[in-house]
Amino acid sequence: MSSEAALAVGKLARAGGAGLLLACTTLAAAPITFNSALPVAKGAFVGRVQAVWTESQPDTSPLRRRRDSRALNSVLGYGVSPKLALFGALPVVDQRLRLTAADGAQRTRSASGVGDARLFARYTVLQRDSLGSTLRLAPFLGVELPTGADRRSDGQGTLPTAVQPGSGAVDVFGGMIGTWQTLDYQMDGQIAYQHNRQANGFDASDVLRADLSLQYRLWPQQLGTGLPGFVYGVLETNLLHRGRNRSQGRSDADSGGNTLLVSPGLQYVTRRWIVEAALQWPLINRPNGEALEPGPIVRGGFRVNF
């Protein structure tokens, strides 16, 4: 069994903020757990900062592994044209893996620092606007750069991949995001794929994910002539499939699997800024072998348009 199996938990925690960063167009409320629908007009910027915390489910294997991760994910988007937007994201992470060694001693391995930066472009290929509603579809394509340290060590030697802030590899990702928005609600759906490449003899599995988000205006219930802040109730689902990692050319049977997260949340939306929070609850966990199961993820932050 490999402690690299814990990698999935950390990747999952960063998936919405700056991990699997994906990108719609000039819309508003936008999902909390993924970034595909971040709104940005031509010549304008949008910034999003989210704090993310997660801890793996209790481990029943003899290693008694426990992995926790805290991250601050920052995203900056710029509208190059009404249809083309560019985004950059940089996480700062603090990751810890505790386990019971063969001699029964408790060991903790940890690392913190800047993670891997992500750059991507999104282009709106379909836009159907009418009074009070819009339908949009946009593919996106990006790259994850190895800006995070990937060879950190402590007194016990080189840290496991699950704890390293960076992957050391240049990874590519892409997908499609669709949005339907009215004055009362917004629905977003995306499908995305990330191809992870090998670094340091470790090849993290590719990731396929499908996400849905519903944001429903709770307040004000009736629109008037003025424009107060809006409160949206949010319900999102994230389905993630990961294959098995490969280490030194060998497949790790205790890595990867399938996870379905259900995420209730709230957003307060004003003209220029949004505050938002969500709890991502792992409704279904199907890990391969003895891979660590992702636990609940708490995320909260703000967004600003400038």
Partner: protein, 75 residues
């Protein structure tokens, strides 16, 4: 005073984008958006005529689709 029908707006963030771009135009005194009506009302500085093509482009740049544009009295 000019009224612009703006299609695709659905929340305060949209309103900000449209108002910001309209208010940045030369000759515009004030611009206010009514989200419920899907309409932007632009007041030009005295003696300055509005440029319909320019107004349309601003709405497009903000990420939306312009509809009818014309003096308020004509709506």
């Amino acid at each position: 005073m000019v009224d612009i029908s703006v299609k695709g707006m659905s929340c305060p963030f949209c309103v900000y984008s449209v108002e910001k771009k309209l208010n940045a135009l030369d000759g515009v005194q004030t611009a206010k958006v009514d989200l419920k009506q899907g309409r932007a009302r632009v007041v030009m500085q005295p003696g300055v005529p509005h440029d319909e093509q320019q107004l349309r482009q601003v709405i497009i740049d903000a990420g939306f689709t312009p509809g009818t544009i014309g003096p308020e009295a004509e709506r």
